[in-house]
Amino acid sequence: MSSTIKQRRLAKSLLQLSLSDDGRIERDSVKEILESLLVSRPSGLVTVLRLFLHQIRRHEYTYHARVEYGGKEGEKLSEKILEKLNQNSSKALDLTVIDNPKLIAGCKIRLGDDVYENSISDRLNKLQKTFF
């Protein structure tokens, strides 16, 4: 489904309105916005809602870190990295921490759509690629 520039702009400004001071999505503001949208019914409401949802998801993504670690060393390493990330990031981060034995040892952190990885499995993959 295609959208117009106007609709995309609207969705973006709605996102700005739903952010709290620390840059996180605020549930109450979102609720308010949705209610007022339902009353005012701008043209292409469905598209605007879809775009708005997309914007919210994407924004939420940027302060959600998913940390996977393997082995004892990996656990320690991931803790250190998280500390650093929290210091550097303007927003407080949401965390999901998972023990992933597939990494063998090391850790893998995903923040937004950036992935930082230093693990045995990643190195093995790289090695495999140099041969094929």
Binding site: R58, D113, D114, V115, N118
Partner: protein, 510 residues
């Protein structure tokens, strides 16, 4: 056995132990060789992206909420939700002399079963064409070995000459003849040991063709011993459109390596009509707005940025060159179509092949009126220019007069002479496929025509007599031709020798 463990050890030692940072996304839709990916917020335009199962893709559409990637390779195992990652690299292909004699696919992987390609050099597929400063005007000939082309539409090194015509009018044959002739000249030059000799390496991009046609071309090149100077880039009709879209750029990168290292190369794009169609297909699937004939708006840029990469560099930039022979197929002889006019306006001239001539048995079916070379005559050797200067005009006049004289019964003497000469030139230009003629022999034959040696021979015997003369000039009557070959000029003394050689030949020819 130990060498393998050594190799593995070496690779392990070289392996970086740094943390890697990649940008990832997930496939949201997947259809017709195109994937829409969510995420990948840091991807670059034209960057290679990595899909699971070793499938590569190129990011072609960077939109606000998604990235459109064309996929190269087998997409059957991919599914929605799969992770995609950036590589930080633009698509590049191997280049260098190791590619000569090989057949590769659109990304430079060998497909001829002759093992891996031993080249550690690579060039990005998309590159910016040389600017104005490093360029120089065309001044060295690139002989096709086809008399009708070399005399009327001469081609110079670094030129872009379009070969255009309907289906099955001998377009590919002209290009292959040219490649075979380069191989012949290369071998002759290398044998002579001349340090100034500059071989021409060839790249043939077979695009959207049947595999059987490509095989036929390879066989012809092998039979003529030309393969050792040729790289074939093949993206056959059954290949996915992304590969067909890429193949010309890959081939061009391989040619550019020769140019930038001070060598001469020739590249044939067979054919760019199919390239435009492949690009249209990709664009429509990527939902780009379509324009005339449903081609996207940037279809002109598609070909201009490709053909601009062919150039003649000046001495300061290494003196190399890349000559391009793009091929375009027309529908019912219509050169005013969208893609034909685009490419005509980019190139430095065109060789137009006419179906009517081809069907009349005039092969190669070069149309005199519509074929032109805008820069090549500066590159013709002196001797050839001297004998070929008038031939295009003579032939054009003949075509006009012939149309007229159909209604006239008695013609004046000068008109009749022109008609006779024209008919003989037409016969002289007939030439079989894969049979290029060296330029010095061409010069001698043309000289014979200009000096009335063929006037006493009946028109229907001309082709036979020209063949016999070519034969004679490369065996018994070699001397004047060798002089032309060595000096490039037609001196008074050479002309004398030529006259006596032709007189000798004419006595033996009955």
């Amino acid at each position: 056995m130990s060498s393998i463990t050594d190799l593995i050890r070496k690779e392990i030692e070289n392996l970086s132990t740094d943390a890697t940072r990649t940008n990832v996304g997930t496939i949201t839709t997947l259809a017709d060789g195109v994937a829409k990916v969510e995420g990948l917020s840091k991807v670059m335009f034209n960057e290679m992206v990595e899909f699971p199962y070793n499938v590569l893709g190129i990011a072609l559409n960077l939109e606000e909420d998604s990235v459109g990637c064309v996929l190269l390779g087998d997409t059957s195992s991919l599914k929605e939700g799969d992770e995609v990652r950036t590589t930080g690299k633009l698509l590049s292909v191997p280049v260098g002399k190791a590619l000569l004699g090989r057949v590769v696919d659109a990304v430079g992987r060998p497909i001829d079963g002759k093992g891996t390609i031993d080249s550690d050099l690579s060039f990005p597929v998309e590159r910016i064409a040389p600017g104005i400063i490093p360029r120089k005007s065309v001044d060295q000939p690139l002989q096709t070995g086809i008399m009708a082309v070399d005399s009327m539409v001469p081609i110079g090194r670094g030129q872009r000459e379009l070969i255009i015509g309907d289906r099955s009018t001998g377009k590919t044959t002209i290009a292959i003849d040219t490649i075979i002739n380069q191989a012949k000249i290369n071998k002759q030059g290398e044998k002579s040991g001349d340090p100034d000799f500059r071989p021409v390496y060839c790249i043939y991009v077979a695009l959207g063709q049947k595999n059987s046609n490509v095989a036929r071309t390879i066989k012809a090149l092998e039979e003529k011993g030309a393969m050792e100077y040729v790289t074939i880039v093949s993206a056959p009709a059954a290949d996915n459109p992304a590969n067909q879209y890429l193949a010309p750029y890959s081939g061009c990168a391989m040619g550019e390596w020769f140019m930038e290292n001070g060598m001469d190369a020739l590249i044939v794009y067979d054919d760019l009509s199919k390239h435009a169609v492949a690009y249209r297909q990709i664009s429509l699937i990527l939902k780009r707005p379509s324009g005339r004939e449903a081609y996207p708006g940037d279809v002109f840029y598609l070909h201009s940025r490709l053909l601009e990469r062919s150039a003649r560099l000046n001495e300061d930039s290494g003196n190399g060159s890349l000559t391009a022979l793009p091929i375009i197929e027309t529908q019912m002889g219509d050169v005013s179509g969208y893609i034909p006019t685009n490419v005509i306006s980019i190139t430095d001239g065109q060789i137009f092949l006419e179906t009517d001539l081809f069907n009349k048995g005039i092969k190669p079916a070069v149309s005199v009126g519509l074929s032109v070379s805008r820069v090549g005559s500066a590159a013709q050797i002196k001797a050839y220019k001297k004998v070929a200067g008038k031939v295009k005009l003579e032939l054009a006049q003949f075509r006009e007069l012939a149309a007229f004289s159909q209604f006239e019964s008695d013609l004046d003497a000068s008109t009749k002479a022109r008609l006779d000469r024209g008919a003989r030139i037409v016969e002289m230009f007939k030439q079989g496929a894969y049979n290029p003629v060296p330029v010095e022999v061409q010069t001698a034959v043309m000289w014979g025509m200009q000096n009335d040696f063929f006037d006493s021979i009946a028109v229907e015997d001309i082709t036979r007599s020209v063949d016999s003369l070519k034969e004679y000039l490369s065996t018994q009557g070699k001397e004047p031709c060798e002089e032309i070959y060595n000096s490039g000029k037609l001196e008074e003394s050479t002309e004398q020798k030529l006259r006596s050689a032709l007189e000798d030949w004419k006595r033996t020819f009955s």
